[in-house]
Symmetry: C2
Subunit: 417 residues, 2 copies
């Protein structure tokens, strides 16, 4: 238990894609690695929407952090809520527990941002954790159940209206998946309502969905969604989310289920260390991802933004967080070894991916643009490949194959809130 004495302590807060990558880059370094997370599991966030739409079980895409790091003997895992950092004493505070560090990596990720309207969260949950996904699943499935017993047609219509706020990849994926549930999965399951009558609205404040993709792919995705029965409303800023519906700049939609996929902000890590942050709360880091004036503290992934105003923005996606994590892990390993890494962090963008329902996806890689069936296969294989653990890959593949063949979804269990 005390082989730790004397060795440098590297503490990582957050076991997302970035944090896990730092830990693994330090596997052979003569340091003790402590990774702290509030959950016991690493979550494969890109597939959260599939848990939310009952295609996958929570354990299919969440894997105990301890399991992943079992064989890395210099790593320990602490499940705790970090409450602050004492930068003078160099300790991370997790309630009464203090964890000393020589190197600190803040990889705490992002949370939903309601643009100053946190009171909307109750009516419009987002999709950042397994618990969020289970809550959204519960709401979607319950809406159909309630519609089946209600006698008032207006109320039934409201219960069967689903609004997704935000036309990025998550919003597009959710809208497509809910359309599929209504059109196919639940088709013959009810006696009084026809699930196919469900109204699914994707609301985007800007002029087009998937704004980071080439315009051709945005248009393609919108047409695909419309063919599946999704209403796409662009140029529609949300001005209020309420229990009974959404108020837009240009109208109002009565609904029971709102899913928030519109904005994120960084976790409060900047406040813990008193660092300068941008408007989204991300810590402004130097070219080596270090916190200015604190060379022993780094921020990566959604917690960080390059301070250099001339730097190209790094997207808030898993591969970016992983690249940053690997870079910082190597940097710490080099420093501990007494050598130095002089090159700056450089982000390499591989591809943009979004799926639109069960047979269609849009993919951009450099000049290559894939749509439709081919894009969907590319998307599916890429996601299964990156899932941690052989078993998970296999179960997810099996679940998908099963859903694909039968239109059934295997995880339609409503659990308590």
């Amino acid at each position: 238990m005390d082989q730790t004495q004397g060795r440098p302590q590297a503490v990582i807060v957050g076991a997302g894609f970035g944090g896990m990558e730092v830990a693994s880059a330090l596997a052979r370094a003569p340091v003790d690695v402590t990774i702290i997370d509030r959950h016991n599991h690493h979550t494969f966030q890109p597939l959260l929407y599939q848990v939310a739409t009952a295609a996958l079980s929570a354990p299919d895409i969440a894997w105990p952090i301890r399991s992943i790091l079992r064989k890395q003997e210099n790593a320990r895992v602490v499940m705790a809520d970090v409450t602050g950092v004492d930068v003078a004493k160099r300790v991370v505070q997790a309630g009464p527990v203090e964890i000393p560090y020589d190197f600190l990596v803040l990889a705490t990720g992002a949370m939903h941002s309601y643009f100053g309207h946190d009171e909307w969260e109750d009516a419009a949950p987002g999709l950042k954790s397994i618990d969020d996904a289970l809550e959204v699943r519960r709401r979607i499935l319950l809406a159909f159940e309630r519609a089946e017993v209600v006698d008032n047609p207006a109320e039934r219509h409201r219960l069967l209206t689903f609004v997704i706020v935000g036309g990025g990849p998550t919003g597009v994926e959710m809208a497509g998946a809910i359309a599929e549930i209504a059109q196919h999965t639940l088709r013959s399951d009810f006696r009084r309502i026809d699930p196919r009558a469900a109204r699914i609205v994707l609301v985007e404040a800007g002029p087009r969905i998937l704004p980071t993709f080439p315009e051709r792919l945005s248009t393609y995705a919108q047409r695909s969604l419309e063919r599946m029965g999704v209403e796409v409303k662009t140029d529609s800023l949300v001005t209020e989310c309420r229990k009974d519906g959404v108020v837009l700049k240009n109208g109002r939609i009565g609904c029971d289920t709102i899913i928030w996929a519109a904005g994120v902000k960084a976790s409060p890590a900047a406040q813990w260390i008193g660092a300068e942050a941008d408007r989204a709360g991300r810590i402004k880091v130097g070219p080596q991802l270090e916190v200015p004036g604190r060379p022993e503290i780094f921020a990566i992934g959604d917690t960080a933004v390059l301070a250099d105003p001339a730097a190209l923005p790094i997207p808030g996606i898993a591969p970016a967080a992983k690249q940053m994590g690997k870079y910082v892990g190597r940097l710490i390993a080099a420093r501990v070894a007494g050598s130095k890494i002089t090159n700056y962090f450089a982000y390499r963008h591989f591809l943009d991916l979004a799926t639109v329902g069960r047979k269609s996806a849009v993919v951009r890689r450099g000049r290559l643009q894939l749509t439709g069936y081919l894009g969907w296969w590319f998307w599916g294989i890429a996601h299964i490949y990156f899932l941690i653990g052989v078993r998970n890959r296999f179960v997810v593949a099996l679940n998908w194959f099963w859903s694909y063949v039968t239109f059934q979804r295997g995880a339609r269990v409503i659990t308590e809130r």
Copy 2:
């Protein structure tokens, strides 16, 4: 929607093993079947302990009631909490909704009984629903996580002590599964604690565990558990369950996790209809499972007890509920058709089954008694076979095989309460 006009209405409350069997026995009868349940899913209760011990995901053993009945056109499913029955008006009340019946089957099952000490429930949750199982899973996994960060050795010991109250099949299965988690699954996952040091205590008030089995099998199960590191305490009546431990008639055990597998009582169905019940709350039914004086109301499964004091007791297990369900379904179908079934309900007992960890089970069928490896295979095949749905069978089999080969458990996700 109104093909229902004029046809007799058969209403079933509860979609457990009994209720589902009634519905399916009525598939070809000229009646409208309504099945009401507070959950959207039918639960395969015999495997709940595997969800509680992270071997299976909740959706592996829970299947939407609507899916099961999708093709039965005369059946509709209502997800609602039944609040009462108006026997004069012949309607089931579910809050503001009233569902009229010509035949009513009460199949509402059992819930935990704390022998008049309902205040113990918080400290000692039981295992009757998916939500219960997820809560127990959360507690078991969190206890290890907390023990890892605690510095006080006495508190660490308390966190690593697990007490299972009740030596029936569920208690035996839980104790064996927790021992397996501590001995194998988590073995290399922690750095400060040794999960193998966990203390697992199975507490039974009577003189031996598995009291409904032959004595030889009880002895065998106890020895198997002890070899796995479980302490078995017989003749140990629990007099109090508290946050910090269990008080026994003959001692006290400090612990963080208590699992209640000791007693059940019937749901309040007897009160809804003002029927006579036994001490466990079960409705006293006639030889055709009808409620005396109410030939249109039946009670089955854990909700019912034969009024005839000379009748052999029917055990509270799935096959018994299914047999009763089938009998009542056929009785109603016959009555609707104008014919009559004159034979009384007769329970046929096939076998007693309990598993004790990963390579051992006890099985009795008539004179045949199986133990050990052979018993375990028998148990596994029987359970997979009876799971509803081909996909579930396959996923469960795969998960088991995986756990068996690797000692890993695929569902170690702690979700929020």
